[in-house]
């Protein structure tokens, strides 16, 4: 099993296309950081425009707001929309790419069970996803902390702003990245399932992105009939639940309670739903693949 996993990782990381995703993440993070470094105040103004009627913000306050933690939050918000595509590039290629290259039939003549083969392929895709996230964490979190420094973090919410003490932030990011890993693994599992049906990787990649986009639109729609019937069960409704780690409980005076999470059960429920999706997608992929005739 370990040997097979090594082979899969070797194949993934020997492919030039693998590094496109790493390059893309580095470039996007860098561009956002540059933009906010030089024009961060405009961004803060835009961010606070909804609140400016009731609050007045001076430049010192704005400078305090524009710290590494907030920048990372902005990057996470932006990149976690793009990352499913980067994840699908590899997971969608896992089986379909082998079928397309003709190496699937050769691999399947080897004394390796199909279930184990799928498991190893999926684990390799997950490791790739984690590697992307680690790179993103290094660049977006630690990079921004280096460039912009650290301070209390301000989170904009519909009912106002919320301040998280600087020492109470970092663990929330670790939790958020952990959650994002599960969310992206769900996308990976979907692309992996679709990959089993295809003989070239373009199909599963496009299909995965189409599903993510359609489901995201459905998740965002405020139509009463969807709210209780469809939305709670769409995986895309739960992919952004990492933000829950940055929503903090407040006491009677309105001061945030350090180390708290406003609605932990909701975050855990989202996490459970995503994990169930992963098992369903991966289980279905294995079930289909075990029965599949290799005709390519």
């Amino acid at each position: 099993m370990w040997k097979l996993l090594q082979i899969e990782l070797f194949k993934i990381f020997k492919r030039p296309r693998t590094y496109i995703a790493f390059g893309a993440i580095a470039a996007i993070v860098f561009l956002i950081q540059i933009a906010l470094k030089f024009d961060g105040k405009s961004y803060i103004d835009l961010l606070m425009s909804n609140l400016s009627g009731s609050f007045e913000f001076n430049d010192v306050f704005k400078d305090k707001l524009l710290n590494g933690y907030l920048i990372c939050f902005v990057i996470l918000n932006t990149l976690l929309i793009q990352m499913p595509l980067l994840v699908a590039l590899i997971a969608g290629d896992a089986i379909a790419g082998e079928a397309n290259m003709g190496t699937l039939r050769l691999s399947m003549t080897k004394p390796v069970s199909r279930t184990k083969y799928m498991l190893v392929k999926f684990i390799a895709s997950v490791i790739y996803t984690l590697a992307l996230l680690i790179l993103m964490a290094l660049l977006a979190l630690f990079g921004s902390m280096l460039i912009f420094g650290t301070n209390d973090m301000v989170v904009l919410r519909s009912e106002g702003i919320e301040q998280i003490k600087r020492f109470d932030v970092l663990w929330r990011y670790f939790a958020a990245f952990g959650f994002a890993a599960v969310a992206l693994t769900t996308v990976s599992a979907l692309a992996f399932l679709l990959s089993v049906f295809a003989e070239n990787s373009i199909g599963p990649i496009i299909a995965t992105m189409s599903i993510v986009i359609v489901f995201t639109i459905l998740s965002e729609m405020n139509i009463p009939i969807y709210d209780e019937t469809i939305k709670p069960y769409l995986f895309t409704s739960h992919m952004v639940a990492w933000k829950g780690f940055f929503y903090v409980k407040a006491n009677a005076e309105g001061t945030t309670i350090n180390g708290s999470i406003e609605n932990l059960p909701a975050v855990l429920r989202s996490l459970s739903i995503l994990v169930i999706y992963i098992f369903v997608f991966f289980g279905s992929a294995v079930w289909v693949f075990r029965k599949k005739d290799i005709l390519t």
Binding site: K14, M101, D293
Partner: protein, 311 residues
């Protein structure tokens, strides 16, 4: 145990289409076994079932005396195969490909052994080149090295000479003969190049539309002494008329648009040529058509192709 492969009543349906229909055959230890059939006859489907790539609709496959369904891993550990074309990871080198497939076969092979394997197929100097820089012939040889890297008892090669130039075909043929004679491998070779099968196989099966047409020893299935001649002359109509009036009439099997067909034993050829020259119609060519090919066509196609042979 002499029977390495035993296939009984094997069938495979793809929806309404019967790709393989109640096929039975067996392969003995040390044999080179030819698997013949036209395109779409069911050769590749059968081979894919032997390699567990396709699940049979019905029937039983035993390899090394074990049920393939129940002992898949033990059996596949002893099989090396190329199916159709030897596709490899093009962005990796030959050595890396070989290492990957050796590991997947469950054997630990030293770097030296891998290089020896590449040496055997004449690729040692290009061991560190990426496969995308290889010619078709080199890929084929790498495919064979991959099939042999774990020293299997049974080697299955599906159309191993596909896409190769004459030199490549000869190289692969010599490699197969070497594996059979020097390394005593049991081999199943599928091909539509009948002359190739005749040169390398001891036994063969011919299938058509998924059904067995005939199975047996190659030398028993056709008489190599008897051959069909395609005779082309300056004026085929005149030659045909003269043949009908001569004592060569007994050899004439028919006339096609572009040639006259004669059937005769090899030892009669010199005398027949002498008499044909005597008929004073300029001869353009006197070509011996392979009798195995005729035999094959007679079994797998309509009479129109082999009127001459079926008399």
């Amino acid at each position: 145990m002499n029977t390495i492969v035993s296939v009984k009543n094997l069938s495979k349906n793809f929806n309404e289409i019967k790709a393989v229909n109640d096929l039975s055959f067996s392969v003995e230890k040390g044999q080179v076994y030819g698997f013949l059939g036209q395109n779409g006859a069911g050769k590749s489907t059968t081979i894919r079932m032997l390699l567990t790539l396709i699940k049979p609709t019905s029937g039983q496959i035993e390899i090394f005396g074990m049920d393939l369904n129940k002992h898949r891993k033990e059996i596949l550990r002893q099989i090396g195969a190329i199916i159709e074309k030897p596709d490899m990871y093009k962005y990796l080198t030959a050595l890396e490909n070989l290492r990957i497939f050796a590991a997947m076969s469950g054997v630990k092979v030293s770097e030296k052994k891998l290089l020896d394997q590449l040496e055997m197929v004449g690729l040692a100097e290009r061991a560190h080149s990426k496969v995308k820089t290889y010619s078709q012939g080199m890929k084929q040889r790498l495919g064979i090295a991959t099939a042999l890297v774990h020293d299997p008892q049974l080697v299955i090669l599906d159309e191993p000479t596909n896409g190769l130039d004459p030199q490549g075909i000869a190289d692969v043929r010599n490699l197969i003969l070497m594996l059979s004679r020097q390394m005593n491998k049991t081999m199943i070779i599928s091909s539509h190049l009948l002359s190739e099968i005749e040169l390398i196989a001891e036994s063969m099966i011919i299938i058509d539309k998924g059904k067995k047409i005939v199975e047996g020893k190659v030398r028993e299935l056709f008489d190599p002494a008897e051959t069909i001649i395609e005779l082309k002359t300056f004026d085929d109509a005149l030659m045909y008329e003269k043949l009908q009036q001569s004592d060569l009439k007994i050899f004439v099997q028919g006339k096609r648009n572009d040639c006259i067909l004669l059937k005769l034993h090899r030892d009669q050829i010199p005398a027949v040529i002498k008499k044909l020259v005597g008929l004073e119609v300029p001869i353009l060519s006197f070509h011996s058509k392979h009798s195995l090919e005729n035999y094959f066509l007679s079994l797998t196609t309509g009479q129109q192709h082999v009127e001459a042979f079926t008399n």
